[in-house]
Symmetry: C2
DNA sequence: GATTGGATCGTACATTGTACGATTAAATTG
DNA sequence: CAATTTAATCGTACAATGTACGATCCAATC
């Protein structure tokens, strides 16, 4: 039932009547492929959100029948797994000019990680599934390599990696889920004000009203790296 | 369409024939209520997981018809929101003996936070929705108060809170999603071994094979708190 | 030409959330 | 007490959705 790797490229004649001319239809129908399915799924998810991805709708976009997808993909879950990992492809410069500025290296890696996911907010919602695709693993590998290149003790390496991972995942999921529309923001503010008697500290610090997500992410990351750095 | 707060307790006679004796049926039918619905939903989620929660099944457990739930609850989403927040109820000691050991206070608060969610692994999957229920806000409030009692500068307070929040959320989601069965663990290990050529650093550090999640959480949290502490 | 296997797709079905309205019981009013 | 309103329950029905099954078609191979 699985298509596996597909090195051959097919042509699709239209199987209708005889073609009078050489190219009766300029519409060259593109064949399905796993890559095309995943790419189109990402498009659809970007456009319609997580709930907007239906197998029929995806097939429509691909100009195919709904059931044709199942030749290439086991089920919808797999589509989501693949879409998630595809978003995590890293196109950054692997070799920066400075070979030993490990801290900046880590910071920009993690900022890119977060940004890649926030470009596709649905991806954050997919994180709670155990999804270690190749791109995810690739990013972990890079992070791991950077850190071991720094002065971090061998015994603390895994803890450091997981801490940074946790931080990035938490920040990304939080940011994505707090991405309120204008109306929602007003409503939340009012609700919070009305409840500020119960939560005085939060209300006072305006914790939920701060807009500078990027800055907060960066500053918190700096604190974490301070703690991880050999003093 | 909403029941709102329901202070009255109802009896349910059985509306069948006349009751010959005082208690013809020892089965006293308990009336529905938001509390009962949410509590039963948590039970069902614990037993069957996120996909196991269907409105009909939930109603069955409650001895009610499926549509009866909708008098108390707008829709299934709300049930999930309420179930999530209900799991976050904090029953910890608010006043510990040591009034000024803020660091231990924060650590145990956050450990309890994580533990409360891991007791109901499905709750981690629900985090990506914007869910600031009263219990969630209560925990944020407590954390906020603890930190401002410590020596952390006012300007860094919100960053500190969000950092700790991110860390806890990331760690919890990760832990919950990596909770492999025995078979899965073996499979993952093999897969990783076969791919260790592509990810040598990860494979070498046995990052994905470490079992001491609690210890790793604690040690990483210590690093983060080191970074946040005024030096 | 016959056969095989890769790929596509139409039909059908089971599952699920929930809209709608009927029905009943309890509270309130006259 | 009777009449009416409101709170609460539930049966039926429907639309949406994932996907099992099998038919079909086409290119490649024998």
């Amino acid at each position: 039932m699985a298509a596996k790797s597909n090195g051959a490229q097919n042509k699709r004649p239209q199987g209708r009547s005889v073609q009078l001319e050489s190219t009766p239809e300029p519409r060259e129908v593109v064949p399905l492929s796993l890559e095309r399915i995943v790419a189109t799924a990402v498009e659809l998810l970007d456009a319609e959100g997580l709930d907007g991805l239906k197998m029929r709708r995806l097939a429509d976009r691909l100009g195919a029948g709904a059931m044709s997808l199942y030749w290439h993909v086991d089920n919808k879950e797999k589509v989501l797994d693949l879409a998630l990992d595809s978003v995590l492809g890293y196109r950054g410069l692997l070799q920066t000019v400075e070979p030993h500025d490990w801290r900046n290296e880590v910071v920009s890696m993690l900022e890119d990680w977060r940004a890649s996911m926030l470009r596709h907010p649905w991806s954050a919602s997919l994180l709670p599934r155990r999804a270690l695709g190749p791109n995810m693993l690739g990013r972990l590998e890079m992070l791991s390599k950077s850190l071991s290149g720094a002065g971090i003790a061998e015994a603390n390496l895994n803890v450091a990696i997981w801490s940074l991972w946790n931080y990035v995942m938490g920040a990304t999921i939080t940011r994505a889920s707090f991405d309120l529309s204008e109306d929602e923001r007003v409503a939340a503010q009012q609700q919070l004000a009305s409840l500020s008697e119960h939560y005085p500290t939060i209300a006072g610090s305006r914790l939920l009203l701060d807009d500078d997500w990027d800055g907060t992410f960066r500053r918190g990351l700096d604190f974490l790296l301070d703690g991880l750095s050999p003093r």
